[in-house]
């Protein structure tokens, strides 16, 4: 059997279809859905949250991240939850932290995986039901999740 030009072209054109059958990744839209799930559709105001994450990441398998929220952390007025979202990992949810007045300081840190350059979102829920957020654009040179 010889490889005709037609067969070769067909094979070449169907290649993207084969690659697309891999696991679906999160999109900014599915991230928005996860965010709405967290807020219950309430408005999110930028501010009061500080998100510290490197702007240029060499290794997406381990990215240090710290979030602090401007709050007195008293019994009446404190941060209840801090949620981290990403746009293009397989899942938009990254981490959720449940705090209380015993925390004393609304500051948490962890290390996350990032599957490519994207915007990372941190959203905090206060006792009064308001939501505050911070976002950072991160450039990742070696993404996580790509190795087999």
């Amino acid at each position: 059997m010889t490889l005709s030009r037609r067969t070769a072209l067909t094979a070449l054109l169907s290649l993207p279809l084969v690659l697309q059958t891999r696991a679906a990744l999160a999109t900014p839209e599915s991230m928005q859905a996860a965010l709405d799930d967290f807020t219950g559709g309430a408005p999110v105001t930028p501010g009061r949250v500080t998100l510290k994450i490197p702007l240029l990441v060499e290794n997406g398998n381990s990215v240090p991240l710290s979030v602090s929220v401007d709050s007195p952390m008293t019994a009446e007025d404190h941060v209840e939850q801090i949620a981290i979202f990403n746009e293009i990992n397989p899942l938009p949810d990254t981490a959720r932290f449940h705090l209380g007045p015993r925390s004393g300081l609304a500051a948490v840190e962890t290390r996350i995986r990032l599957n490519g350059s994207q915007t990372v979102h941190a959203v905090a829920r206060m006792t009064d039901g308001s939501f505050w957020s911070a976002t950072t654009d991160v450039i990742v040179t070696a993404p996580a999740c790509r190795e087999v």
Binding site: A23, S66, P90, L91, D93, R96, H98
Partner: protein
């Protein structure tokens, strides 16, 4: 399962202390394929809880986007001498527990 807990032994009343946890765990995402081409089953820690005098003071819900050997840092206001307990649970429901005593004076 090995864990590193960074926490002071003692604190002044009302002092805010920092607690850092580093838990040894593969945090297998469930999205990767193994050498046979099949998906490697998910194996992650789903929650890390801190109890102070038996009361929950902090909890972290972790997802596959958290690195292998998850690291979690948070704060706590010290007011009474007592036991600080750390409990973490993986997606198979296996729970591990570790405790430290904090002296407040």
């Amino acid at each position: 399962m090995s864990v590193l807990i960074n926490i002071p032994d003692s604190a002044a009343p009302g002092e805010i202390i920092e607690i850092k946890l580093l838990i040894q765990h593969p945090m297998e995402t469930g999205f990767r394929t193994g050498p046979d081409g099949a998906l490697v089953p998910r194996d992650i820690i789903e929650s890390v809880t801190c109890l102070y005098l038996g009361e929950e003071v902090f909890r972290a819900d972790l997802y596959p986007a958290i690195t292998a050997n998850p690291f979690v840092g948070f704060h706590l206001r010290a007011d009474t001498t007592g036991e600080i307990e750390f409990i973490w649970t993986d997606n198979a429901g296996v729970t591990s527990r570790e405790a430290r005593t904090l002296t407040v004076a």
